[in-house]
Amino acid sequence: MPALLLLERNLLIYRHTWYLLLAEVLEPMLYQLTIGVGIGQLVGHVPGLDGSGPGGGSTGGIGYSAYVAPALLATAAMNGAMNETTFNMFAKLKLQRVYDSILATPMTVHDVAVGEVCWALLRGVLVTAGFLAVVGAFGLVQSAWILLVIPGAAVVGFAFASVGLAVVTFLRGWADFQFIQLAMLPMFLFATTFYPLGVYPRPVQIAVECLPLYQSIQLIRLPALGEPGPALLVPVVYLLLMGALGLRIALPRMQRMLLH
């Protein structure tokens, strides 16, 4: 599969710059320490997975740190993947013109797109795995199902890498990255990262449930807290569709950008 050759290129580069991945693990660690542990001291326990439901509190409640950790895992997978196809790819597209030379070989735009998405989701998985090790070291593992975080992170990574790929084709300059921040930061804060959905009134709950990060957090948090089940299908389907849509928008636009 020629697309994997792009993975090979990126691995070649990361042999020199592997420490950048460590830096990306640091960000969720800081949230975990300040909010998970710090605010966790004040909060104590949260009432199970979805405090709003009729069975609220039936799980007996979880330590706040353990509640926040899966959300940060999902966010790490999202950021790891999306930074790759937005920031890094923008530089490769506009400044380094890496793809111009790649496309002079038998590689196609399709190979490049798929290759970069694969690499981005792999990066998301690596960052998530790194942070998972930290979470384990903090003693926040609730269930062996937490290992589902790894394939979960791959799905989250795929969805956001593909959307990032579509987004990067619309960016005109570095200033446009502000728009990405404008979408990502509120999503990070509202998508039940730090407190359950139950605190919102119902109309807001519906809006939050539509957020891709909310679905990603669900995909990671349910198994992490020991409740895997058919409910996981919703986020999986949501995220796979989102990824497919991202690719569908990105491919023809990249084709026009690169083969003019």
Binding site: L5, L12, Q96, R97, S101, T105, P106, L259
Partner: protein
């Protein structure tokens, strides 16, 4: 390579390139055919359509009209197969700045689907060829302009291409670097690699090209061997005379009929003729005493300026 004997290596008919959304026509219906083993040049001022033509031949730019066959394959539908068998040296170095010199060759070979062992062996050989063996472990950003160009050429050879396309290969290089590059290109040519290059350096075209076409405004305005072009468009010799400022027009008037063609420039008069010395004698006979006079052989530069004009294009 017997299968290609007789059939042109590259053949274009009515080839057109129109860029959207501007609607700018860069290549406006050109025809050409290249024989195997030949070094073929596209000459022309900036914006003549040379690079657009090259990009279409390298199958990274879709045709807007006409037909183009490379290595006997249709460029519109069999791009990947064609790209597997050609080498491309683009106008701007597009080396992978995040990789070392050697890694650039290794990964590029991999893009062609070559096994790692083959790529490693070729990378070492190509580093030798490009005189970059000492720099193998360096980051690309540490290389000089000439070294980057040589690495780009080495990279274009990693798939052992049948045709090497070079877009302005020596623009921006110092004379030493240019000569080293030319020497390497000769070597390739003698090994049977067909070269297609664009240039606006006449010495480069005369040095390297067996045959060339002159492009201007998206069209081919002339074609042939360098010698044929010079004979057809400039004649054998050129007499350049310098006269005091302000006497240009009067002098030009007096010299009518002395040469095949007379071209007044702001600081000089050029007389295109078969015999420069006789023309110079004629100048003296007509009572003109130039400040300086120079007889030289006509070159491609004269052809180029005759065909594409002296107005600055950019």
């Amino acid at each position: 390579m017997t299968e290609h004997q007789g059939t042109p290596l590259v053949e274009a008919e009515g080839l057109r390139k129109v860029y959207q959304p501007s609607g700018f026509t860069a290549v406006d219906g050109i025809d050409f055919a290249l024989a195997p083993g030949e070094a073929f040049g596209f000459l022309g001022p900036n914006g003549a359509g040379k690079s657009s033509t090259m990009r279409m031949i390298s199958c990274v730019s879709p045709l807007s009209g006409g037909s183009l066959r490379v290595l006997g394959l249709d460029a519109a539908t069999r791009g990947a197969e064609i790209r597997a068998r050609i080498g491309v040296v683009p106008q701007e170095d597009t080396l992978d700045e995040e990789l070392t010199v050697r890694e650039n060759l290794l990964i590029y070979g991999r893009y062609f689907g070559l096994p790692r062992a083959v790529v490693r062996e070729r990378a070492d050989r190509l580093l030798e060829f490009a005189r970059l063996t000492d720099k193998a472990g360096e980051q690309v950003s540490a290389l000089s302009g000439g070294m980057k160009r040589r690495l780009t050429i080495a990279r274009g050879l990693v798939n052992e291409p049948e045709i090497l396309l070079l877009d302005e290969p020596t623009t921006g290089l110092d004379p030493q670097a240019r000569h080293l590059l030319w020497e390497r290109l000769y070597q390739l040519k003698s090994e049977g690699v067909s070269l297609i290059l664009t240039t606006h350096y006449m010495d480069e075209a005369e040095q390297l090209c067996d045959r060339l076409v002159v492009m201007d405004g998206g069209r081919i305005v002339a074609g042939g061997t360098p010698r044929e072009l010079i004979e057809a468009h400039a004649g054998r010799e050129v007499l350049e005379i310098r006269v005091p400022p302000g006497e240009q027009a009067v002098t030009a008037e007096k010299l009518q009929g002395l040469a095949d063609r007379l071209e007044p420039l702001p600081d000089r008069l050029l007389l295109y003729t078969e015999d420069g010395e006789t023309a110079l004698a004629g100048v003296h006979v007509r009572g003109i005493v130039p400040i300086t006079a120079l007889v030289r052989r006509a070159g491609l530069e004269d052809v180029f300026l005759t065909l594409t004009g002296r107005t600055l294009v950019d």
